[in-house]
Symmetry: C2
Subunit: 256 residues, 2 copies
């Protein structure tokens, strides 16, 4: 049981990192032999608290977590989702204080990666690059969310978000039959999209009526992903899957 869980655990990190570039068998073996203790985090429980010291680097094995900020008037903005395979990258290593919260949305299984393990990861060039990649993709996703909230109406916003989740969950093998788990309430979707839960509800109803997107019982179903992508102009390039840049030496060769 323990061994089985451990294997599942490491597989998802390898799978995630190989969404960038293939890893050598040594690197994979290294990742399969770090044996951090995983723990469960209850829904609504915080993993990182804004203003406090960042405890360590976390990897989500199962469940949805999110980064969020609270405003004085009580409103909340969810700034990103951490889905299985995602980790909060280098922040705790570089900077003293957290500028945002990270909290579990559903029951989460997370791993706390110890600082000395992170040093070992950084010492491996391919993993080092993959960590940079995570950071760059995170930035790109944030930009896309900014565009989403700033430029698109409620219908296109929701469509785009579900296209993104579909793509990200597919990479880690969590989409089956056009359907995937999204353990969010409509209120949480609202806090993500800068809408009210009332308006999210109405917009989901409209998308459902158009046969574009069903969201029920914490599961999303997209019958025709192409149609949904066309609607909101979803272009997955920004997720930079398998978008490894050529090494510096090759670029010299190309330049000369």
């Amino acid at each position: 049981m323990e061994g089985k869980r451990r294997r599942i655990v490491d597989n998802i990190l390898v799978r995630k990192l190989e969404g960038f570039a293939p890893l050598s068998s040594e690197d994979k073996s290294f990742l399969n032999h770090i044996l951090p203790q995983s723990r469960l985090v209850a829904p609504r429980e915080d993993i990182v608290r804004q203003g406090l010291q960042i405890p360590c680097i976390h990897l989500v094995l199962d469940g949805f977590a999110c980064r969020y900020k609270l405003l004085a008037d009580g409103s909340r903005q969810i700034c990103s989702f951490l889905v299985p395979g995602d980790m909060c990258s280098m922040g705790s290593f570089i900077v003293r204080t957290a500028d945002h919260n990270i909290g579990a949305l559903s029951l989460c299984q997370v791993i706390e990666i110890e600082p000395q393990i992170v040093l070992q990861m950084l010492a491996r060039p391919a993993i080092n690059r993959a960590l940079w990649w995570i950071s760059i993709v995170h930035e790109a996703v944030l930009r896309e969310w900014l565009v989403n909230v700033s430029q698109r109406n409620a219908e296109l916003r929701l469509a785009h978000l579900f296209c993104e989740l579909h793509q990200r969950l597919e990479v880690v093998g969590l989409v089956r039959n056009n359907s995937f788990e999204v353990p969010l309430t409509q209120g949480e979707l609202a806090d993500t999209m800068g809408l009210t839960s009332v308006h999210v509800n109405r917009t989901l109803k409209s998308l459902r009526a158009q046969g574009l997107l069903e969201f029920k019982d914490k599961h999303a179903t997209i019958h025709n992903i192409e149609r949904l992508r066309d609607l909101c102009q979803f272009d997955p390039t920004y997720l930079h899957i398998h978008d490894n840049a050529p090494p510096v030496e090759d670029r010299f060769a190309k330049a000369s």
Copy 2:
């Protein structure tokens, strides 16, 4: 003349990086001896084009540039500003294709840092950390912009943006007498804030009437920064100035 410009040039990068943590004199000397050729970029000219290969890493010496995305309906979202001292960090090193454009807003003086120089920078631990810091702060700024656009009304949005610019420009010594250059049109502000230029105009008028913020002739003046910060709950923590995390060894000491 050349020597003087070169000194000014390197000073701003050193100054920017020391906004994180002090550099050793060797590191500073290293940064003062990279001698990249700077070039001028005209307003509206692009430095990086979405979908194409990212040419190399750029450092802005003077002027404002921005990252932006275009949508099919012609609308534009400005996703971040590059002010003097800012560089577009590791993207070109890690990932093949640009997921956004970078373009000059005003006449810009920029430096193109060659890949092998970046390798040398990465080889120096303190500079390596500072590059991670840049990336982390970039992410934090994006989150704050998302909150801004998603949760605040036009008045608070503009107030918050100008508080941020005030803080960022002060770090590199570009604020004098509560006043600093912001070479943007109201239309560009609108594309930044997810508003129309008409509404930006009206909102600036209101802020001016309240004595909070003057924006005229490409210059912003904030007579009472405290009052403006209170209004929009600006908390500069997210810029992580001098927020260097303790090294891993110290954390072990603390833990034991």
